[in-house]
Every structure is written in structure tokens, then in C-alpha cells.
Amino acid sequence: MINIAKKLWFIGFFFLPWVWLINILYFVPHRNNLNDKVKWYLKFSLIGFFAYSTIFMAWMGIYLVNRNKWGAFGDNISITIPFG
């Protein structure tokens, strides 16, 4: 159990907040018999999930609003540029 929690916690650092969410959801059925160490990983997984999500969403908002204003830079950091 501790191995799974630990692995998912490290994987989440590679810009994968949903893995942290899965980490928590995976342990929901076992919520009554978790030791403190696992709880520690799950707590910080949740915090990490919210932190990463907030940063990503904020960036997405900033990018979508300013994409056209940034000119050539805006186009260069885009993978596909929508028509219109």
C-alpha cells in the first residue's frame, strides 16, 4: 500500500496532477485502514493536485485571452492554431 502511494506521489511531479487525484481515489475504499505514512502521501497528493490544477488553469486562461495579443510569440508556443 505504501509502495503504491509513494510511486504515484513521485509520478505526479512530472506535471501530472490527475495522477495525484487517482492516488487519493484509489485509497478511498481502504480509507478506514490507512497508516499515517500513507495518509501523509495522500494529503500532499491532494494539495499538489490543487496547486498544479490552479497553476495550469490560470496559465490556460492567460494563454487563451492573450494568444492573439502576443503576436508571433503566441503563435510559436501554440501546437495548432485555430482558424478564424
Binding site: 492573439n68 503576436g71 508571433a72 503563435d75 492554431i81 482558424f83 478564424g84
Partner: protein
Amino acid sequence: MRFKNVLVLLLLLVFSVINSEPSAPATISDNIYTTLYSSYPCTKIMTSDGQFGCSSKHGGNSGILYLIDDDESYNNYFSYSQQKDIIVVLDTNYFNSTSVLNLHNKSKIEGIIVLTDTKKTYPYSPDSRYPNKIYGLYPNSNLEWNPNADGFTYFSFPFPIFAIDNQTSVAIRNVSKHNRDGQYPAWGAELDSFMQGAINSETCLRRGFCEPVGGQSIWSSFSSKIDKEKEIILVMLPFDTTAFFRDLSIGADQSSFATVTLLSVIKSLAAVDRSSWNKEVVFAFWNAERWGYVGSEYFINDLLNFQCKTYNSDKSKCIDPPRADLAFQTQINFTKISTIIELNQIGRAQLDKNLGKYSLYLHTAGTKTSSVTDILDQVASSYENSTITFKPTTQTELPPSSSMSFLKKTNKIPVVVITDHDYKYSNPYYGYEQDDNENVLGSTLNDIVYILSTFIDRIAGGNNNITIDKNFINILYPCFTSSITCFNILMKTYPLNEVPNFYSSVFGTSLTTTLSPYETKLIHRLLYSITQYNSTLTNCTSDNDCPSSLCYSGQCVSSNTHLHNALSLGFDFDTSKNVWKIVNSSYPIFTESNWDYTALKVFKIGNSTTEIWFLVSGLIELLVSIGLILYVKKFLSNRYKLL
């Protein structure tokens, strides 16, 4: 086990029989929609700091048809439009910036279909009051040459606008009247003209979503090679046209009447003895002039500044900077241009009731113009039965014309611009699709051709009796003003659209891959054949069989006729990134958006009760099917242990 196989085979057989039924319809959408093929969309143009024109949503805008053909229906629209998505069917009289902007600002609108079955009852131009003002010779002028203009072309609309041809208009008007009576099924339409470009030229060029407006100018001479020591008489005109719906840019008075005149003049001069001519005569048809005198500016710039860095092997072409034809450099000396004669709008000569003649006006600039106009007066007055007279203008400024590009460089050349207006345009439909064959005076054409041919012969040093080629004019005139289908044998292709349309279109995808519309190719080919000096005895079946010449009726023909790029000097092609870039935005920066396709489709709409019944019966069908499948599955698994 054997029974199971038999059952499966039986099922397969049943399915294959159902699917291979021969009378099966192609698709559901074919049954729902009827595509109207004679539809002409409003497209989008980008400038250096914005955009104008129209675009639909991605996938199209749709709604129920609502006809606006009188003030009552116009006023009712504002309350009606609250409830539904509406495609407005607009009588041509309501197509102007006041009524459309009012609809757009005060109510919801999904799209507009403009009818063409009736004619506008008032003079109207969607262009500006001084076309090309900031690119001309007098950017701060207070004159208004085009008084009927409301600048409609230069607004940007977030919904599609389409025009449809005469016949379709009658049908659409009828079904919209049927809608107005409240009968069901009602008629709706889907307008799809999604434009890829947006924001401005710089952005859309960088993204590759648009291309510069431009094309190919055409110039020609009777001489096989122009003597660089001789003086040049330049007879020219801007041949491209514009209209709000660019597929309908007939521009009969705007350009095509003058194009017919000049081609006919060249045709009649081709038949005379030109051995006494002591000057070179060059005929030029400038393209993309409506977009800031792009064609003439580019040609003059090449004459004055062009230097080739890398030639191809036989020095006939330049590779860097790319030019497919270097004849302009080897033959034309800018300082030798001694006279410029420009035919501008000449299709609506004004009737002078005192003289009983139609008058054309001479706008002059530069030095010693009287020496030129005197000859023209002499020619006109010595022609006894002439219905045409020439008058000097009362204006001191030139009207918008290609000559301005030359006068920007030098004021030493005498310039004569011939028009049908003294000051304000006599053309009531400048830049509007009604500038067609009914908007010009075909009866004046023969006399104008005769006088101008004689005039050009005289100033070149000849003294010939001119005979005009009436057969040629009788084919050319209707071809260029009502239906461009008369030179199919010469062109060996059929035009996509029967409406003559001299819109310059876009330049092309790079400096070397240029694009010429049918009309440009037609003028080039006609001019090439008229000014031919030599037909070799080489037989040919296509142009590919003739090196550096063209194939006409089975023989290779040579002519001193050339195409020249008409592209704004503000653009250059970035070969490393493979996109167009803007190098100087003080030049005209017009780009046209790309699009995949445009379509106008109509369909039937049931009333709300029918629509609810359709939904309910569909849901019932779905539930019954699910029930049936479950039952069959259960039955089969119980009885045969199959599934």
C-alpha cells in the same frame, strides 16, 4: 454448433440484402438539404490594421427565411427576430449600410441572402467616396468623386452575406413569402462561408491563412522588340474591377467597357501600315489597381529599381529576385515615356443636348498636354458623323487613375486620362454588381474605338485610314459585359462562372507560383494573338509545343506581349519560412482570407407540433428497439444457449 452457423449465415444474408438495396438514398443530408449553386459569398479582406467583409461560424449559420421587401416587413423584423434564428432575405433596395447596420445593431441576425431579381431604384456604390484616396496623388484632397458611396464594403460583419443569381432569387423570394404567410413546412437556409483569416494581414500571413491581393498585369507592343532610343507612347488602363460580392465584379463602366475599347483599338491598329510610325506604342493593362494602384506601382518600381542578382542559363529569366519575364528591362526605358493616354471609366458618355453628341472628358496633368489633346480634338472634329465629342475637364486634380503612379515619379510626362465624367462619377453603381451591360452605352463603342484608333495612329506618326473590326467588337463587347463564354475555342477551357469577373483575386502562394483567373488569361491571349508579328510554320497542339511562344489554331505564334507581377511593394516572400511577410506597411496591405468551401443550402422546417411528434416517435422507436434486442437476446440464450 451447426445450427448456430446456419443462423449466423442467415443473419448476414438478411443484412447484406438490406444494405444492397439499389434505390437506397445517398445520404440523409442529401434528402434534407438542397444546395444552391449560383450563390456568391461576401468574403473577408484583411488590411494592415484590421479586416472587412464577412465570415460565417465554423460549420455555417442557419435559420428560417424572413423576407424584407418593404418598410413594413423591415420594421416587423425587430420584434420577430427576438424569438428565432433568422436568415434575412433582402430585396436589393434594402442592401445598403444604413439598413443592414441598423438590423445588425438592434436585433439578432444569422445571415443575409441578397436578391438580384429586381434592380435597385436609386444610385448606389458600396465603395468609398474617393476610391484609393490615400494611395493616390492627392491623399489630402477634399473632393468626392463617387458621391453615391456609403463605404459598405469596408465594414466587418460577424455573419455570412450571400448574393444569388436572378432565377434562384425568384424562387427564394417565393418561398420566403410562403414563410411570411405562416404556412408549414417553412423554409430555412444554411449559409456557410467560414473564413480562416482574422485580425489583420500581418497575423494571418504569418499563420498562412490568407494571401496578398494581386495578380498579373499585361503589356504589349506591335514591335517585335522595342527600340530603346525611340520615344514611347503608353496607352493604358486599370483592368481589374471590384464589387461587394467579388464573384459579380462585372464593372462594365468601371473597367470592362474600356478594356473592350482598348482591345478593339489595338485590333484595328493591327491592320494598318505602321511603317511610318516614328514612336513606339506600348499598351498596358494594369491589374489590382483598385487595391492601391498595385500593378502600375510594381511595374514602375521594376523599371526604375530592378536589378537581377542571379540569372538563369540563357538570361531570359531572373532567379533572384524572381521574375519570369525580363522584357520590361531589355525593352522599356522609363525616361523615354513621352505620352500617357489612360482610358478610365468611359462607358457612360454624357449626352450634350445642345450638340446632340455624347461627351467624354479629358483630364490632363504634366507638361505640354495641349499638344496631345489638340490632336484628339482634331481627329474627333474631322470625323463627320461622330456621336462623340471630347471636352476638357473643369477639375484641376486628376480623378482616381493609374496615371497617378507615374506622376508620383515625374511630372514631365504629359498625361491624358479619358473619362465619362467631368467631376463626380456618372457611374451610379461604382463597385456594385449592377454595373453591368445595362449601365453602359454600347451604342457609343464603335465611334470611340474609331476616334481613339485614329488618334493613336496620328500621335505615333502615322496617317492611315482606320477601319474598325465590327465583328470583333460584336463578339468582345457582350462577352466582357454580360457572359464570358464566347472565347472557349481560343481558351480551350470553359469559365467556372459565366458572369464576367475582373476581380484581381490573390497573387499566389509565392513569388514564383502565381495564380491568374480566367479573365486575365483571356485578355493576355487575345492581346497576344492581336499583336502577333510572326507565325512560324511549326505545327502545335498546345502551348507546350511552342518554345517562348503560344499556339493558335495549330501554329506557333510570336508576339511581344508580356505578363508582369501586380503585387503591392509592401509584401515580400520569406523563402526560409515559406510564408508572405510585410516589409513596408506604408504601401497598400490587402490580403484575402483562405477558405475551404462556401455553400448556400435550403431546407424545410416543420411546425413545432410536427417537430415534437418527430422527437416523441423517435424516442419510442429507440425504446422499442432496445426492448426488442433485450428480449431476443434473452430468448436466444434461454432457448439455444447462443449468446
